[in-house]
Symmetry: C2
Subunit: 297 residues, 2 copies
């Protein structure tokens, strides 16, 4: 039997439509939600990714701007810019595209972004509130994963969720989100990573398995439980001579074989990726509403 494809592209479109209506109802042309994105590298992939974020902003009615800085930008120059943007009324959300060049301390930059405009949820205050279970901006990929499975009616409560990967943008905040005592979460969570021995012992016991390693087609059929849910956060380029570009994008999951065994699975591309962008829009609108004192009732 074929599994259900968790169609992130479709669900993201549904959410974008909801956000578009919300903006039309709650905002005027004078006061529009605004997002500013800072790019400090000449990585073409980062630029493509940022362009798709600003394109989505335009679709729903969020004003957005990309500020491109040369790789030689110093940490203090970047900090000064962020401080100005913290005070800029036009922007309710600020994001700094990662990765940053090695001479800039990413943690230090995340601390500078005003917690009220921290739509990526990477400021330690928001990370700490997430862990504590307090209201905060949830990082977009973990938020997108939870939103996607919840829109498909998959309950997390009481399930064993196994996360492979402990990055600060996916694995750690996702674990923090899923262990909370709330109806949407309340999962038993195992965090696996490069230091985990016999990872297949953990993945085979997962009701919901999330791979976020960046290791093409790592997860094989014999590593998953029958009828489980598999969420693939990986975005990996591999050579593909049959394609005009010479490469194709695959996830961390051997989709073709794993999909025969599980009940739900996300495709790559078109799974978690679009959901991440949808959550960025949602966080930006929420930031704008809070800052502008607009209530969502």
């Amino acid at each position: 039997m074929n599994p259900v494809n968790l169609d992130g592209k479709l669900i993201a479109q549904v959410i974008k439509n909801e956000i578009k209506s919300l903006i039309e109802n709650k905002f005027s042309d004078e006061v529009k939600p605004g997002l500013v994105a800072i790019l400090v590298n000449d990585n073409p992939a980062s630029r493509i990714y940022l362009n798709s974020k600003t394109k989505s902003c335009a679709e729903v009615g969020i004003y957005s701007k990309i500020i491109e800085l040369p790789v030689s930008t110093s940490e203090s120059e970047l900090i000064d810019l962020i401080k100005q943007l913290n005070e800029n009324d036009k922007f309710h959300g600020i994001l700094v595209q990662q990765p940053l060049p090695p001479h800039i301390n990413t943690n230090r930059i995340n601390e500078i972004i005003s917690p009220e405009k921290d739509v990526d949820g990477f400021n330690p205050i928001n990370m700490g509130k997430l862990l504590i279970g307090d209201e905060c901006f949830v990082p977009c990929t973990p938020a997108g994963i939870l939103e996607l499975i919840s829109r498909y009616g998959i309950a997390v409560d009481g399930k064993h969720c196994v996360i492979i990967g402990r990055s600060n943008i996916v694995g750690k905040p996702l674990a923090a989100l899923l262990i909370q005592k709330s109806k949407r979460a309340n999962a038993t969570v195992t965090i696996c990573h490069s230091g985990t021995k016999n990872v297949e012992n953990f993945t085979r016991s997962a009701d919901i398995l999330v791979t976020a390693m960046g290791f093409p087609m790592f997860l094989k059929e014999n590593m998953v439980k029958e009828n489980s849910v598999v969420i693939d956060v990986g975005i990996n380029r591999i050579e593909d001579r049959t394609s005009a570009k010479g490469y194709k994008i695959v996830g961390d999951v051997d989709f073709e074989n794993v999909s025969k065994k599980v009940s739900y699975i996300t495709p790559v591309p078109g799974g978690v990726g679009p959901m991440t962008i949808a959550m960025l829009l949602k966080n930006t609108v929420e930031a704008a509403m809070k800052i502008s004192g607009i209530k969502n009732v």
Copy 2:
């Protein structure tokens, strides 16, 4: 074969001696590390616990003071007091004894304590840094557990650690600490809690098992793996007619039977409890050194 008792009382004394020497070497009588503790309830257990903290401060040469406030104290009065203490040069560490009365929001109070004086590590900034893997004050019980097992030469790296309990003061920060990519941590971590189904399936696979539920003698012999390490954070009062007080203190572990099967175990009392206090002293001295610009070289 009997297991090794992880003697927290003994190790805490060793650490206190180290701290005492450090204070004698690095501080003068004019500039001493100072800790202020605020108690906002008339719970005798809280007072006893605080008294043991200040007694330990005196032993090592930390100046300390307990400020007792009536249960009727308002949240804003408490906030004002903390703000004053944030500015008070005499105190390098501020702790607010939990639990607080229900009309005071604990999360809000934790946010007010200056991150530089937050020796309990409960301010969301410190919690977030802990999750991210940045330098911060680590909450005392998780720090004490890691210190205790590491002083006994038990490696955590690559082990499966199962934590039962998701409190903001033990379970969550301990998980955040143990998953970090560092020599002292790097464990595969599972977080179980009241929403976990068939908890014994998880506990039986644990190399290191930490119980922090507050459920007397919950963990039975058939729930642990042979030769595993068991850390009992529980402190529960149960009736004991043979005792003059009419009660005795037990942990979350059925010590008598579990201890026959495992390789290391913490007693209750005398295991994690004294380590928690030792870590509070350590955090206070570190806060004092940072604030006073004293280097530990």
